[in-house]
C-alpha cells in the first residue's frame, strides 16, 4: 500500500478542464478557506465587533445629536451599518490573499492542474459566507437596539440580498488590493481606504445634503450611497426604482471590473 510512485507509462493527452472539475476546485478552495476562518475565531470575532462598535456609537453616543428628516435616526443609520458590516469583512480578503502570496501557497496552487480562477472564487465565496454570518449578527443587534423593518417581507429580503450582493462585489476590490500589494500589513492598511471613502462620505450616517457642496456630487452618486438609499427604501417603503437600478449597476460594474483585474493580477502573481 505504500507504492507512491507507480509511473503512468505514457504521457496522457492534455486533460480537459470541464466545468464540473472547475466547480469541484472552487468547492475545495472554499472549504479550505472556511476551515481557516473557523480556526481563526479571533478574526471572525473582530469582523463582528467592529460594526457592533460603530452601531452602538451612532445609536447611543452620536445619534442623539443627529436629526434626519422624515425618519427615526435608528431606522436611518442601521441599514448603513449593515452595509459597513459586509464592507469591513472584505479587508480579510485582501489580508488572506497577501498572506497566501507571501507564504508561497499561491505558487503551489498555480503549479497544480486546477482551474486557476478557482483560487480567487474560493476565497471570495468563503468570505461571502463570513459576511453573511456577520450581517445576520448585526441585523439581530439592530433589532435589539430599536431598528424595525416596515416593508413587506419580500422587499426586506430583497434589501438584505442587495447588501450581500454589494459586499460580494466589493470582495473583488479587496482581492485586487491583496494581490496588488502582496504584503499583509500593507494590504490591511490599503483596505481601509475604500472603507473610509465609501462609508463615511456616503448617506450611511448623515444625509448627503448636510455635507459641503463640493463633496455632494461624489457622495450622492457613489456606490455605497445609492445602495444604502435603495436598501432603506426597501426596508421602509417608498420609491425605490431609481436607487435600485443604480445600485445594481454599480454592483455589477464593480464585480465585472475587479474580477477582471484580480484574475489578471493572479495570472501574473509572483510571490
Amino acid at each position: 500500500m505504500t507504492d507512491l510512485a507507480v509511473r503512468q507509462p505514457t504521457v496522457p493527452a492534455a486533460p480537459r478542464l470541464t466545468l464540473r472539475l472547475a466547480v469541484r476546485d472552487i468547492g475545495g478552495i472554499t472549504r479550505r478557506n472556511l476551515l481557516r476562518i473557523i480556526r481563526t475565531p479571533q478574526l471572525l470575532f473582530m469582523s463582528i465587533v467592529q460594526p457592533t462598535i460603530i452601531l452602538l456609537l451612532f445609536r447611543y453616543v452620536l445619534g442623539g445629536a443627529i436629526r434626519v428628516p422624515g425618519l427615526n435616526y435608528v431606522n436611518y443609520v442601521v441599514p448603513g451599518i449593515f452595509l459597513e458590516a459586509v464592507l469591513i469583512g472584505g479587508m480579510t480578503t485582501a489580508l488572506a490573499l497577501a498572506q497566501d502570496l507571501q507564504a508561497g501557497i499561491v505558487d503551489r496552487f498555480r503549479s497544480l492542474p486546477m482551474a486557476r480562477p478557482a483560487f480567487l472564487a474560493g476565497r471570495t465565496l468563503a468570505d461571502l459566507c463570513r459576511s453573511v454570518l456577520a450581517l445576520a449578527f448585526i441585523i439581530g443587534l439592530g433589532l435589539l437596539v430599536g431598528f424595525r423593518f416596515h416593508n413587506s417581507a419580500g422587499a426586506c429580503l430583497a434589501g438584505v440580498a442587495l447588501i450581500i450582493a454589494f459586499g460580494y462585489a466589493f470582495t473583488w476590490v479587496y482581492a485586487a488590493i491583496g494581490l496588488a500589494v502582496k504584503d499583509p500589513q500593507t494590504a490591511q492598511m490599503a483596505s481601509l481606504l475604500p472603507m473610509f471613502i465609501l462609508f463615511f462620505a456616503s448617506s450611511a450616517l448623515v444625509p448627503v445634503s448636510t455635507m459641503p457642496g463640493w463633496l455632494q456630487p461624489f457622495a450622492q452618486n457613489q456606490p455605497a450611497t445609492v445602495t444604502i438609499n435603495a436598501v432603506r427604501a426597501l426596508f421602509e417603503g417608498g420609491p425605490v426604482f431609481h436607487d435600485l437600478w443604480q445600485a445594481a449597476a454599480w454592483c455589477a460594474g464593480i464585480f465585472a471590473v475587479f474580477l477582471a483585474i484580480s484574475l489578471n493580477l493572479y495570472r501574473k502573481a509572483t510571490a
Binding site: L4, A5, A14
Partner: protein, 329 residues
C-alpha cells in the same frame, strides 16, 4: 528526444538583471539533476519557468515531452513541486493539506484519501496527520510539503532547495527518501547550495553562476576539469601564511587560496606525493612551522571556486530566506 526535461537557450530578464542567460541542459528519465549555485544564481527562476509559474523571455523548455509554453496545464498534472519554504497550510491538518492538493490534481475522492493516508505513513506522519500543521516541527513540515508534491504521483519532481535549514538527521532522511523515489523511476530536478548534496544525490550536476551555466557533468567529470588534487597546508603562525603561500605557489596549477581564519592554504596541483614532498621540503627549509600538510581529491567546492572564481555558498547567506517568501505563518 526522450529526455524528461529539456532546456534550450532559456533567457529571462528582470528589469536590467539577467536572471537566466542561454541556459541549456537536459535530464534523462529516472535521473536526478542538481542545479548548483549560490543565492541569486537563477536556480529558483529556472524552477519557476519549468513549473509553468513564469514565462521565459526566449528559449525553449520541455517537461515530460511537453512545451512549457503551449502545454502548461498538461504539464501541471505531470509534475510535483516542493518549495524551499514548506508551502503547506498551517491552519489545516496534515491530512487536510494532502487531500486538498489531491482534489486539485483532479483525483477521485477515494483515490486522494488513500494516497493521503499512504503518504502520511510513508513520511512517518501518521500520528500527526490530524493535527494542525502549526504544531509541526520544521522537518515534519518539509516532509508534508514533499508528500503534497507527490500526491499526484508525478513522473517529474522539482525540489527547490529541499534541505536548506534542516538538521543533519532530517536531511539524511530526506536524501534517503529522494533516493528511493528515483529508484522507482521518478525524474528529479533539485536545486541546492550544498556540494555535498549534489554529490550525494545527483547523477548530473549543472553549475549555475549569475544566470549562466558555468559547467555541467557528473561530479567526477567536474572534478577532472579541475585536474589532479588539492594540496592543503595549515601553518601554526598566522604571520607565516603569506610567506608559505608564495613558497608553494610555483607547485600549483592555479593560484593558491588563503583562508586566514584557519591559517590554511589550498592549492590545486597536478601531481601526487612528489608535490607533497616538494612542498614539505620547501616550507621546512624556510623554517615555516606546520600544523598540518596533506593532499586530497578536490571537493565540488574547489571546483566551484575554480569555475566561477568565488565560493558557492558563504555561511552568511546559506539558508537565509529572501524577504518575499517567508515560511507560512
Amino acid at each position: 528526444m526522450n529526455a524528461a526535461i529539456e532546456v534550450e537557450d532559456l533567457t529571462k530578464r528582470f528589469g536590467g538583471t539577467l536572471a537566466l542567460s542561454d541556459v541549456s541542459f537536459s535530464v534523462r528519465p529516472g535521473e536526478v539533476l542538481a542545479l548548483l549555485g549560490p543565492n541569486g544564481a537563477g536556480k529558483t527562476t529556472l524552477i519557476r519557468v519549468l513549473t509553468t509559474l513564469l514565462a521565459a523571455d526566449s528559449g525553449r523548455a520541455r517537461v515530460a515531452g511537453l512545451d512549457v509554453r503551449k502545454n502548461a496545464r498538461a504539464i501541471r498534472s505531470l509534475i510535483g513541486l516542493a518549495g524551499q519554504y514548506a508551502t503547506v497550510d498551517e491552519l489545516l491538518t496534515g491530512r487536510e493539506n494532502l487531500e486538498l492538493i489531491g482534489l486539485l490534481y483532479h483525483l477521485d475522492k477515494t483515490v486522494y484519501r488513500d494516497r493521503a493516508q499512504d503518504a502520511l505513513e510513508r513520511m512517518s506522519l501518521t500520528g500527526a496527520g490530524d493535527d494542525r500543521v502549526k504544531t509541526y516541527s520544521g522537518g515534519m513540515r518539509r516532509r508534508l510539503d514533499l508528500a503534497a508534491s507527490l500526491i499526484g504521483r508525478p513522473p517529474v519532481l522539482f525540489l527547490d532547495e529541499p534541505t536548506t535549514g534542516l538538521d543533519p538527521r532530517t536531511r539524511n532522511d530526506l536524501w534517503q527518501f529522494i533516493t528511493d523515489l528515483v529508484a522507482e523511476g521518478t525524474t528529479v530536478l533539485l536545486t541546492t547550495q550544498y556540494m555535498e548534496e549534489a554529490e550525494h544525490l545527483a547523477q548530473a550536476i549543472v553549475v549555475l553562476d549569475a544566470g549562466r551555466v558555468a559547467a555541467q557533468g557528473t561530479a567526477d567529470e567536474l572534478k577532472d576539469q579541475l585536474g589532479g588534487n588539492v594540496l592543503e597546508v595549515q601553518v601554526t603562525k598566522r604571520a607565516d601564511l603569506d610567506k608559505a603561500a608564495s613558497l608553494i605557489a610555483g607547485l600549483g596549477s592555479a593560484p593558491p587560496r588563503l583562508e586566514a581564519s584557519l591559517n590554511r592554504i589550498s592549492l590545486p596541483v597536478k601531481g601526487g606525493p612528489r608535490v607533497l614532498i616538494a612542498a614539505g621540503r620547501a616550507l621546512d627549509d624556510a623554517g615555516v612551522e606546520l600544523e598540518d600538510l596533506g593532499i586530497r581529491r578536490p571537493s565540488l567546492d574547489d571546483v566551484f571556486l575554480a569555475i566561477t572564481g568565488h565560493p558557492a555558498a558563504s555561511v552568511d547567506d546559506a539558508g537565509q530566506a529572501p524577504p518575499a517568501s517567508k515560511a507560512a505563518r
